[in-house]
Symmetry: D2
Subunit: 430 residues, 4 copies
């Protein structure tokens, strides 16, 4: 609800998105909308140019008292109405009557929300891009770093850490592309007047709408979208998808950093120490990324549920969007900032990865080399009886073949080609 990081903000709302979503940022965005409207109307010949410029000059957030505006918001249910009053007072007559001309509070709040979202996405995509680059670097550097592939948290067959990082890369890239597509094409200006007819704009309605969108560098909607909330829902969904993609990566880091696994460790200075337990080195960045990313499911659910806007303005569903959208931007932004930090400083231990490899993991391959529908069962029985896999392999196969199938580095399938595909897709992403 405020602008400082406070007690929890550096953990839960880390990074530049917090700055982009403060109350002051929201206020400035509302003022940007009012300024854009005045300029659009001047360009359309509805109001005088000098009135528009006087209005625009007054649209600087630092001139207004956020808390006072917020207090007045209670009597009408939104902060746009008191802001219009304050802005009119600031510009004085005769410009006052050209402030907010033909607009309704929702036009200003919705357009401001889109401006805030664009600025927040710019920051978020920068951090997400940093995390993605780090994943690409890890994928390329660790092509030959053999490790256990783990399914259901059991060692299964060998993979490379490069392939694991390539999987992270693809997930983060997909999420970033979807967020960027929403940013470029679905953030639109809102202008409709009291009930979406633009009736208070006279004959210039459509012209003012077009110019208003251009002024704000937002998309021009087919119709005012005051009760068509697909745009909010698509934004929320894309943030939720990005959160999920980041949670997968952060979760893997936490698991790989376990004391008993120890295959990665978070670098980045002395973070993660425990004053009470000096031997510990906690993966604080990955954990904090998870904490942020896990906010998404419920917040997205709230925003999807809030799509049900009644008639020409919702009785509650509109107001219900403000909190979760801000929290969702912040939490996803925080996850991106933490994950970037985590991946950019990730310390990988190839020796430990190799040492952790359980030979039994090659059992699938030995069974395949032995052949026959029941080879799997036979190998399983032999292992259960206490025999080593090498024993079983040499019993059924030539020594050369047995040695080959027992070497994990020759059992990586298309891992290298798949890394190439991921890096190529990353390089050519739109």
């Amino acid at each position: 609800m405020s602008d400082g990081a406070g007690l929890f903000g550096e953990v839960l709302a880390r990074g530049p998105v917090r700055e982009a979503t403060t109350d002051l940022a929201w206020l400035q965005a509302m003022l940007d909308a009012e300024a854009g409207l005045a300029r659009a109307q001047a360009a359309a010949g509805v109001i005088a140019d000098e009135h528009a410029e006087a209005i625009a000059a007054a649209c600087r957030a630092e001139r207004y008292d956020v808390d006072a505006l917020g207090a007045q918001a209670a009597s009408v249910g939104n902060p746009a109405a008191p802001l219009v009053r304050a802005l009119r007072a600031e510009v004085g007559d005769p410009m006052a009557s050209d402030v907010h001309r033909g607009a309704t509070s929702q036009d200003i709040v919705d357009s401001a929300t889109m401006l805030v979202a664009r600025r927040a996405l710019d920051a978020l995509l920068d951090d997400l891009g940093g995390a993605t680059e780090a994943a690409a670097r890890l994928a390329d550097e660790h092509r030959a770093t053999v490790m256990a592939g783990r399914t259901l948290l059991q060692q299964a067959v060998p993979i490379t850490f490069g392939l694991k990082a390539a999987g992270w890369l693809v997930g983060l890239d997909e999420a970033a592309q979807r967020l960027d597509a929403v940013r470029r094409s679905r953030l639109a200006a809102q202008l409709g007047g009291a009930a979406g007819t633009l009736s208070a704009q006279g004959d210039a309605g459509i012209d003012v709408l077009s110019r208003f969108a251009r002024e704000l560098q937002l998309a021009e909607p087919v119709l005012p979208w005051h009760t068509t909330r697909t745009r909010i829902a698509e934004l929320a969904s894309a943030l939720g998808e990005a959160s999920g993609a980041m949670a997968k990566v952060a979760g893997d880091v936490v698991l790989l950093a376990q004391t008993e696994v120890g295959e990665v460790r978070e670098g980045g200075g002395d973070r993660g120490g425990s004053s009470a337990m000096p031997h510990k080195h906690n993966p604080v960045a990955a954990i904090s990324a998870l904490a942020g990313a896990r906010q998404a499911p419920g917040l997205v659910a709230n925003l999807l549920a809030a799509m049900e806007h009644e008639h020409e303005r919702a009785a509650g569903a509109w107001h219900a969007e403000w909190g979760p959208l801000r929290e969702l931007l912040r939490a996803t932004g925080s996850a991106a900032a933490w994950l970037r930090d985590c991946l950019e400083h990730l310390e990988v231990d190839p020796e430990r990865m190799r040492a952790n490899l359980d030979d039994a993991m090659l059992a699938e391959r030995v069974a395949g080399a032995i052949g026959g529908a029941d080879a799997g069962d036979r190998v399983r029985e032999a292992l259960a009886a206490g025999r080593s896999l090498a024993d079983v392999a040499h019993e059924h196969l030539s020594d050369d073949e047995a040695d080959r199938v027992l070497d994990p580095a020759t059992y990586l399938g298309a891992a290298d080609q798949l890394i190439d595909r991921a890096l190529s897709a990353h390089a050519h992403r739109s």
Copy 2:
């Protein structure tokens, strides 16, 4: 994330719960936990009394810098560790080493969360109680106010407004009782040390735990609950249930206040006017109550999903609780403050209620009086053919009987008894 109401707080986080959940309130609660711990340990003979008192004296939030503590929180992932450092510096040697003795960060944050929750619930239950009293008054005053009962938003059979308000009362009472039960028995102190064994408390572990709980006036848990999050989940669920009960009431008010229905109107001064549309009178309190109440489903979902804490401290799920729990307290508290305001000033229009009654609504009764399995079909056909219900009634029934069944005031069943039951249950609630 902050302590002022900001741009949206008076709409979305109204009422005393916001004050009870500020960063400063959370900081004070953490300090209360540290003070309580020191006193418990002094009483258990683990540390000197004068050390405990010196520590307790330093546990005043205004002595510390919230933003500085928050900034340091990033390196360990929670604000308790930097607070312990600051508190140790504040008390100096030799008391410093008795600060936070044998405790872990989670002990302090969890116990503080419970203190914050208790203070927030006190405030919330006061507002919810106010709304409940208002509903009880409306139920009693409007026993004889006949109105349409509406099913699927179609007029169905007559009810009284008193009965509708009695339904609100029961829902709010049930929600308040569940919240109060959680407040009284499920808010517990947390103390376990690094992994829940109380090992750093020496032999005094259980004794210190008991005394710590009493110091904080919180329940003493069977075990430390650092990764058993049922308490958080029950608190969240009870808030969610209260939100749903309030949303039902607020939704009814919005529907009754529609221009075409006009049976209630929000009083309470000049709120709800529209500068652009001077004829409008918006039910701002009910709408804002809805906006708050509708935050619950997603936030509760996030808190239920966060119950999956790994081993002896969660890697992300714990941190993931802080934001949604605070938001949920605030949003539910806001709904309660708005709903109380709404109901305490609700203006009811019995004449409009009576005028809105559609005679056709008595069709069920006429069909019942006519009798026979197909009476309903026959009445429906007659109405569809354009006949009035009175016509149909008089065709099939004696005039006295027809007059009786056509009078809605004689068709209210047990409405009055039901109101008595609701008021009695309210008067005798635990």
Copy 3:
């Protein structure tokens, strides 16, 4: 969990999506995946053509016992393993060892899920398209049907029913386009083997992957996506967005159909009657559409939360997808089927719309014509003092001007142009 409509299916899972998502449909899709894999491997020269054709010939769901496969699924946690056994038995040696060659259970279940999703989306988009066409027709036919625009459920300024329907159209069109984009580009084959390296495909891994995707007419992924669940999340989100867009429309219908509003009525035969209340005509289709659409928020939340897949196969999160994805497809499909029915048979009452118009709604316009920053206040005071709006208008304006501003049909702004824009966008949608 089954294939019949059962007790609730015709209400909650209406329409062709239910058929496309039965257990039998899922089983057939798993068999299609096995057949596609065999053919892809034959084309890649890995197995003999005649083996592939024998396998494909055995891939007909009616040859297998769904309940028996389901019962065996319990011991391994998924139905693919028993299906592979059954399919091997069906084709016999020597083809048996070429069944499911180099694949893992998740490859089959995930690819089958994508096939089911594509078939379900085909059906869903057909119904959604029908609803969209109906909205387009209503928008065009009711360009001149003046009605009250309602904000916060209060009459605000006039609109046309055509404009309202145009808003529905845009929301449904946007939702359909997003769903179609997911259908065309994000439904991909999954093939990776035990841990995503394609190691058990020999050197042919990438070639088999490409051919497999073409066989199934699904997109070829950059990498196996066994633990990169963005595709599932995007599908879920798009379904959630569509549900929200439909809920908005259905909600408006329910509100317009209220006894006290009566501006629309569901046609479509004798549905919606009440045996107990013969006068009632319930908007059953709109209500059932709402019931379906409102499943989305929680189900999408579950699917977003399930994105956190550990390592190379998830320990629970994968299994956690199956139920909510099927329920989400069914519920959204049901909403589309019901909404199409609702809109295709919607009976609109222009006379009632005109009659419901509250003159006071023109107050904004009168205030604008009077001019000056305090005109709104002055009009409000006059109305509060019991004067008619016509009186106030004639006091301050010339008679001609007063008559003009009091005619709602001259106060519709750009409504007609906006309808043209919506219809044009609909005609030219991709």
Copy 4:
């Protein structure tokens, strides 16, 4: 949607709750409600005893066609109306007109839902009780089994496996007690007639309501609760809390069963093998328990959001409850069945637990023994410089003291007492 286990039921809807929630079970519960109503009315003198008995005799589900009733449900939006028609036909005149007398469809569906919930909770609590007993046994048997306490998935300080199991026990006990409290006091009969006035029951309304509740062995509500959905919400929340408590346990099992940890293993026959990877032993029960438990957050969210029932019957929110409530019962029941299976057959490896203990974990204790505010930093530096903890301990402490602090079995604090507390609370639970 059906009654067989189908393809996924044995994994996702395991155990007796599935049987208790089939369509047939729901139909029988609706018939039980009709029978209970007739008997209540006979006892109240409203209808003839022999009519009531004839009606009750016809209330056997196998006499009716579920799919046919479901098909007819579409025209009115619920299956009660066609069932009443079928039941009337079954009993014939003159009893037909005493069927469903004065009731509305929602009375029957809601009361049936409560009956289904009670039967499902009986089954669920049995499985949850089994899991709880198994946890109690593990807690008692493994009092002396020293293992690593892990925080943030890093080894922290020693605990015992008994203490870990005691934590599971407390979580499961708390969840079971809450579910049982809901079962005993919050499952209530619903009877109100068309709009909740009991008007069609004549003067006997309250009497019939009381007797109806007793017939069904459900609680008697203060008021009909047709639009007061706190009961549904409390049931859903308690299921969600139980799911979370179970997810914590199952998650711990999955982590302890990791190849690199190997401290527990699921027994219970040959389940969990992998045909492709014969060395693997997957914790299928724990994973399936997680899959079930993780359905709760979204389903609870949907049910909380559906609390907003309009006026005297909801337009969509009521129908929106049916699916998620059934799915939630089934998923939670499945989690309980799987978790019971998991814990009853859990194989614990105390040797591996001891072997996994990292000496560095004792660093906290060594630092405490050394004393002073910077001891932690000094120990950390020494460890970082490559020294062993034993070295550091012996440098600063006497040999006896060093040996003592280096023995994890002497560093378990109140673990044993805490186990006693958990077992005692379990033995004395209400």
